[in-house]
Symmetry: C2
């Protein structure tokens, strides 16, 4: 499958190079809009522009392809055509995608396009524009079937047959005379029942709905948990105002997972699609600066223990292992917390239980690896692999190194677990600061405690 698409991509590029527009149009007609959007990511700007020019009169396909593309690129392409053409393409989009594009167009253009669109549609778009794009209101679709509870199954089917444009056909929502959501039934239930049955007698009345202001991630989690195909969105008065469909929630879940990955690594989703090197530098720099500050702090720490270090230079040889082991075990703990919190597997109400458990894990790991490293370093020195000379007993050195790694790992697990949980409790995104902040903090604390132990034991 993947291979087939790649081949289509190669063919498209070749046809563009040869200016073979007739054949190009033929192959584009046969390519799924999602595949066009997928392929476009690897195309040059010129190639994308060419494809767009050929495709744009097929407004439905163009709309579908643009909806699947990076917003920035979709806007760039649209800016090349007339306002009238923009309008025609936008009208083929689902309202939520339409709003995303309109709010990203330059202000003048966006107003002109809004003017061109029919009044009804504009109103809908303007209503949607009032919602934060990361909430249920921001991702909901306003095209859905809502029927009065007094209607019969037959009447409902008749309405559906006459409105072929409504995308979300799997659930039918039932409202009372004040447009309050009171029930739901599937299209299947509608056709299975005798035509004269009233909707209120066949509908399911236990409905899960979300408020317009609910975070999109929470919406996606509910859709995933209950295996819904769509979830209804209601306003303050429990009036049905839209639905969020499962395909939109898949995108939300994937985007959020990618965002968490990038944040944990100290960068952002932006960098995956970033083309320019300077763009990458900007995105990466904040956390690298934090890491630099931490590193300098560690250097100052070390300079304060210069007397101890000069008595036995071999102590510095174990700095990398102290930092490396601490960092790795800390990342294990913080990743566990960040992902556990994101998927709901770890519950913030059990914060002390979770931290207590990590403390135990950290202490056990510290003792095990402390003994291991302490013995190993003693053996390495005995075997003359380390070429250090010193008046300090090598057994003491092994003990210092072992105790150092033990402390460092204990600190690492606790910091690694604590930081994300505290951030979550403070309603700050735990993924944001957990990665580089945790490793930097662990570096500074680990180095400090190791040298303190050394200075105390080696007198």
């Amino acid at each position: 499958m993947q291979v087939k698409i790649q081949q289509a991509g190669e063919t498209i590029r070749r046809l563009i190079r040869r200016d073979a527009y007739t054949n190009l149009k033929k192959i584009l007609d046969k390519t799924h809009p999602a595949d066009i959007a997928y392929l476009a990511r690897d195309f040059t700007q010129f190639e994308r522009d060419t494809i767009f020019k050929i495709l744009k009169d097929d407004t439905e396909k163009t709309a579908a392809a643009l909806s699947e593309m990076e917003l920035k690129e979709a806007v760039r392409l649209l800016e090349q055509i007339s306002q009238e053409d923009i309008k025609l393409i936008l009208l083929e989009m689902s309202p939520d995608d339409r709003v995303d594009i309109i709010s990203s167009l330059p202000e003048e253009l966006s107003e002109a396009v809004l003017q061109l669109m029919k009044k009804a549609d504009t109103e809908e778009v303007e209503n949607l524009m009032g919602f934060d794009e990361n909430t249920a209101g921001g991702i909901m679709n306003t095209e859905f079937h809502a029927f009065d509870e007094e209607m019969t199954a037959k009447e409902a089917i008749d309405v559906i047959q006459k409105s072929p444009d409504i995308e979300s056909y799997f659930y039918v929502y039932v409202v009372d005379d004040r447009n309050h959501l009171v029930g739901v039934l599937s299209l299947r239930q509608l056709i299975v029942k005798p035509g004269n049955t009233k909707l209120k007698n066949i509908m399911q009345t236990e409905i899960t709905s979300v408020h317009t202001s609910i975070d999109q991630e929470e919406v996606a989690r509910q859709v995933a948990r209950y295996n819904f195909l769509a979830i209804p969105v209601v306003d303050e008065e429990n009036k049905l105002v839209g639905i969020v469909t499962v395909d939109d929630t898949i995108d939300v879940l994937r985007e959020e997972a990618t965002e968490d990955f990038m944040k944990l690594a100290g960068t952002s989703t932006q960098e995956i699609t970033e083309k320019s090197v300077t763009g990458s530098l900007k995105v990466r720099s904040p956390w690298l600066l934090a890491s630099l500050a931490g590193g300098i702090l560690a250097a100052v720490e070390i300079s304060n223990f210069v007397v101890t270090l000069e008595r036995f230079i071999g102590l510095s040889a174990f700095l990398p292992v102290i930092i490396g082991m601490g960092g790795n075990v800390g990342v294990q703990s913080s990743t566990l917390m960040v992902r556990g919190l994101a998927t709901g597997r770890i519950n913030i109400s059990h914060i002390w239980k979770v931290i207590g458990r990590e403390l135990l894990v950290g202490a056990s790991l510290g003792v095990i690896y402390g003994i291991l490293l302490g013995l190993l370093s003693r053996v390495l020195i005995w075997a003359d692999i380390f070429e250090f000379k010193s008046d300090i007993s090598f057994t003491v050195l092994g003990f210092v190194v072992g105790l150092g790694i033990c402390t460092s790992m204990l600190i690492a697990t606790v910091v690694g677990a604590f930081v994300p949980l505290v951030l979550e409790k403070m309603k700050i995104d735990p993924a944001l600061a957990s990665g580089p902040f945790v490793t930097t903090a662990i570096d500074v604390l680990g180095v400090g405690s190791y040298l303190f132990i050394a200075a105390t034991l080696i007198k």
Copy 2:
């Protein structure tokens, strides 16, 4: 919403403590099976057993709740009841979930249960058991509507009305007389058309299907890309054998993302639900051992440069910043690659372009932070914040440190980008070895090059 569920959970626990089984049954009846499964994660074993005993006669709800639970726990609960009861509950499950449970039961029990189940069902389960559980065949559902292309819309609707048990009602598949998949249409299209229209005249013939052996991740990606509600699964002869529904693919995508998170951190998904501390230790140890080996290698490296270090002890103060910055920038690069490859945003066919870009980013970051750190260290020494004494020019020291961090960051970006791409090319999961392996490799290489630069420049 979340709060409401938590409250239900508290009530359930209280009722269990009071042995108030009648009220307990009432509240369980009103709780969604997905919520019961969700709450059960925080319950004690005794509480879960109590709930299961009360719930088990409602086979449909029990089946739904067990399907949403950890497989291990679902099996543990089922082992407490009679084979006949197990059979009744399993019969309410979708075939793919049923297979997962049966293959996890102790062999004797699983055979006894298979015996009890009706022949037809057993055959189906046994067929499914032949597929790898991570493939389309392993997650597909065998209950779906497939109609002959010569049937009319009316005839198809009649069949649907008579088979209320089939879960996946949104697509209807069309096959020819040899059961080959030839078309698809939505339930909606079926009721919109006149009843006497033949299916072959209204079906959509461009169908995306997957082979039973396709990896579940690839299946999920296709469902997400094309916004499908289900995707048909075919065997070698293009015969329709099942469908994978969107709710199953959401679970796949979430599971895979969680797996990648854990692998990148050097642990596994298992640890999120792991209760015992020794279990955690086992899961975390492989990568910690690798990190320990790397740390000892770095210690040996350092011991080889003891002459240089003894001439200026201040060099060791910069080991943490060299390791820390290298590690962070390397994690940024490798995370970018791992997630980019997983979501299809980064394409393996452009491996050299991607690595070239990272090389540029690494070189730029190296130069910027090299100059910054070089100047900073020179200033810190001048300001007497570092209490080192030495006969080496401090300008040379600044130069060594600057060049050291520059090299280390350049190495880090290239290793960070290269390792996941090479693993992907070798068909090894890039998430598996990228995290701790990359940071450990970067530690060793970074420390080595820094000390080499120092030894070369400080003569």
